[in-house]
Structures are given as C-alpha cells and as structure tokens.
Amino acid sequence: MHQILTGINGLDVILCGGLIPASAMLIEGPPGCGKTTLGVQFIVNGIQQGEPGLVITFEQFADQLYKDAYNYGWDLKDMERKKMLRIICTSPSTIKDHLLQSEGIIHNLINRMGVKRVLIDSISHFSRITEKEGPLRELLFSLINALKQKNITVTLTKEMGLKEEPSFEEYVVDSIINLSYEHFGESRTRTIEVIKTRGHDHISGKHYIKFNTDGITIYPRQFIIEVDNPTPFADYIPSGISGLDRMVGGGITPGTSILLSGPAGTGKTTLAMQSMYNSMVKNGNKAVLFLTGESPDSVLRLASGYGWDMQDLQDKGLFKLVYHDFTKLNLEEHIREIDLVLRELKPAVVSVDSLPPMLHNLNDNSKLITEKIYQLNNLFKAHRCVSFLIVRTLLGTDQISSYGEEEALCDGIVILNSKKYGHTRRRSIEVYKLRNQKHVTGECGMDITDNGIRVFYVGKGGKK
C-alpha cells in the first residue's frame, strides 16, 4: 500500500509509514495540546515536499497562525506569496455551501493551486450549522469525499474533553490521532495515541510528544533500532583490570550489557570509568559516559584522582561525557539522545551512571520499566557496545537491582560489595551472571587503590 509521509518527526514511525493518499485523518484532543500545530506542520511538510496546501480555519485568525508558525521557522506568509499555501478564514456554512458545489470559488482555488493537503480547523464548529448528529455526519462525510475525489489528503481537528466517548466523526475518517495530557509525578506532559488507521498498521499505545524549535517531535515508545555497518570491534573488549579480565576469559563480548550493581561507595563508577579509560588508552577504542545522577565535575575529579585524564581523551575525540538532566527529559527523548551520540561517536564501551534516574518517571510501573530497559539494551547491542548500567543497592542486603527487572534483561551482572570484618571493610567483586561467556563464579577480593580497582583473582598459574 502506497503511503505519503507526514514528515512529522516520529509520526510516520507510529503510523508505520505515513498516511494513505486521499484519506482523512482526525486530530482530536483538549485545548492546548497541539492539534492546530500538528495540522499546520502536516501542511508545511507537504509544501516542503512540493505539495500545495490549504488551511481552512473557523476560529483562528490567519494573522495568529502566521505568528505561531513563525516560532517554528515556518514562514506561512512567504508560502502564500509563492502560491503554495492559502489560509482561508471562513465559516462552516460557507464551506458547506461552496465545497459541496461541483464548481465554485473554493473548487477553483483548489484546482488552480493543485492543492494536495487540506487542514480544517476545527470541525467542532460545524455544530454552528446544526446540532443534530445525522445531518452533521452526512455533511462531514460529503465534505471529506468532495476533497478525497480531488486526490487530497485531509486533516481535521476536533476539540474534545479529557475523557469522551467515541463520536460519529470517528466513524467517518480513515485515521484518528488523539492528543492528551499525562501526569508524571508533579509534571504534565503531552502524549499522542493513534486510535485507528484504515489500510495500514500503526504502533499502538501512548507516545510522548514535545514542542521543539522546528515543530512537534514524537518519541515512539517502541522504535526499531537499525544501525548500518556497526563498528567491527575485537572479539573481546578487556576491562584492563587484569584480575577481572581473567575472571571472564579475557574480556567482554561486544554488545553485552552488564548490570553493575552494589551499595554506595563500593567502586561502581570507578570500575566503569577504569574499563572505559583502559579501553581507550590501551586499545584505541572510544567510550561514552552517560551521566544522569552524578555531576560531570565530580566524575572528572574522581578520574583525575586515579591519574586518568578524561578531559584530554575528550579533547582527542576518544571520550565523551554526556550529562542529561533526567528531570527535564522524557525517557523516549533520553534514549533518542543516547542513540544520536552512539551514532556520532561509535564507542566500544559505554556506561550509564546511573540507571534509576533515567527511569524515574515510570512511576514504578514494572511493565514499562521492563520495556525501557529492554529497549536500552537493544540500543547498545545494535551499536555493538559493551555497556555498564550502574545501579545502587542497599548495604547489607541481597538486593541486586533497583527494580527487580534489570537482572533478567541484562546479559551480565557484576556485583560489588563490602563487608565489615572487625574494624575494617573488605571489598569484593562477583561476576554473578554472564550470558554466553565462561566466567568464574563466587566472590573475589578487590581493592580500590590510588591507581584504580585491583581484583585479586589469580586463576590457574597466574599472578595477582
């Protein structure tokens, strides 16, 4: 089935390829959720693809639309000057009278411009003609068909409350998009949901949307990660910590996700940093540290204390420290940002320090947490990175992860711990799990020295 791209970031993904040409899409939602912006963006993207557009507005002044659109970099006035766009401020009865005639000023305009996309904003105003559902349904059906017969793809907006039963308009159109608000803790965010598509599939569920400087961006909940020609790293990526590498048979297979777990102060950040540093300095690989909790300065100071000049590696383009304020980013957006960094740098080793802040807005929803960790792991696998996902556990407990979901989803689990013996603490490291790789089980002693982590595993005939 041939589909046309809406051109709206992420929308074509959740519409599984876009819209069917000469179809009708209803955008419904409460006030302020972005219906008009999404509709205008659909028209603008059509114009950018050489498809002239028509906006029929029953309420908003064209002048206001020009101003709003200009904030997203869309110069609607210029598009009108170039005869690629026409914004008609009019009344429902005028549209009814003139669009349903086989000839007339609106038909002439559509023919003259070669209009391919139309936005009607909003069909709620047709109730000014009649309140009766039967005639309204007939009117809408006729209007849509009049435009479809001209091979025009139509978008219609409709105002609705936060909770409303399906209405007759939903039966008349080919696809329905619902915009709404969701509460995450104290904050409110906009979401989009495809309710129906005729003739093609769509990704169900609510997806997060954001108003960016270039319009609306949709962050699909499940996006398929495709990485062309992933970097061909060596068979194993060593951590450079000799005892640990001996425990896992030389290093970690590229694409393996490791849950790095342990109470505060047991060396999780240090171990991840040391592995990244060694991989860069000894093997010429690249590495990225995604920070969500720790501040960049404190992490760089920590590394500097061990003699690892991460700033120098960053200047040389081998290392990247990416700090995301998790309170300002939605998870889908966060994962997208990570993907962009991986595509740009192509690192062999990455670390997320730490995982729980990334998942904070999932409100302990175990299904969503599982989905997101799975998605994150798939992202790192697609890029063939060894990934360390850091989680802090409680001292003196058998807890391995923060949510109880991570251990099943990650390929490996490395637990760092410390136990009190008399007046001293002894540190330990345990490779609890490592899928498809032989490894030494059980706790081994380790220490954090001035030069970093040292693991006391000797192995057969080896030395410390």
């Binding site: 002044f61 064209a62 002048d63 009108e80 026409r86 914004i87 008609i88 401020c89 009019t90 009344s91 009865s93 005028t94 009278d97 003139h98 007339g104 000023i105 609106i106």
Partner: protein, 112 residues
C-alpha cells in the same frame, strides 16, 4: 503601474467609518479570508447589517471582490498587488502615533 491616486482617495474616504477601517485591516491581515457578510461579521464582532453595508462600499471601489449574490454571496479581499501595496502604506499611516487609527481607537476607548 496602475494609477493609485483614485484608490488613495477612496482609502482616505473610508476613514469616516470604523467598520470599513476594521474590515480593511482584518482583510489585509487575513488575506485569504473568504466568507459571507454574516460570517465576516462574526470575525469582526459587528452586526451583519453594518458589515454588509461596508462590504458593498468596498466592493464598489475594488478592495473587496464578491462571488454570488444574496445572503450566500461570499466576499474576498482583492489580490491586486498594486492595490495591496497602497493599502499596506495606508495601514502603516493609520498606525502612526498621530494617525487616524489611533485617534479612532482612542475615541472608542482602546489604544494601539
């Protein structure tokens, strides 16, 4: 180049009516407007009768075009570039601090 002198005279003459000024400004800012007298009266927040009267005068001077007749006749703004340029200058003049628009607005209790 068209002789715009006549248009300028007409534009100056419409300053006698707030409705006509309001219509010209509305149509100039929303050049794709296409509606009946009743519809345009809603956009302007005026009565249909006074808007219809003003529209007819603007049709006569070529600033507004009319399609059809009777209550379902629809009106649209001129697409004549020459007239549009003159109206642009006219509106800019109206908007000046001591221009007639501000005077009219102050009489109405508003400001610009």
């Amino acid at each position: 180049m068209k002789d715009t002198k006549g248009i300028e005279e007409i534009l100056n003459s419409i300053c006698d009516s707030i409705i006509k000024i309001g219509l010209v400004i509305f149509l100039h800012q929303n050049q794709g407007a296409l509606d009946t007298a009743e519809g345009l009266s809603r956009w302007l927040g005026k009565t249909e009768k006074e808007v219809k009267h003003a529209l007819d005068e603007l049709v006569n001077v070529g600033i507004v075009e009319i399609f059809g007749e009777g209550p379902s006749a629809i009106y649209s703004y001129t697409q004549d570039e020459c007239i549009l340029q003159v109206i642009e200058q006219f509106i800019n003049g109206l908007s000046r601090e001591n221009g007639p628009l501000n005077k009219a607005m102050s009489l109405l209790g508003g400001g610009k």
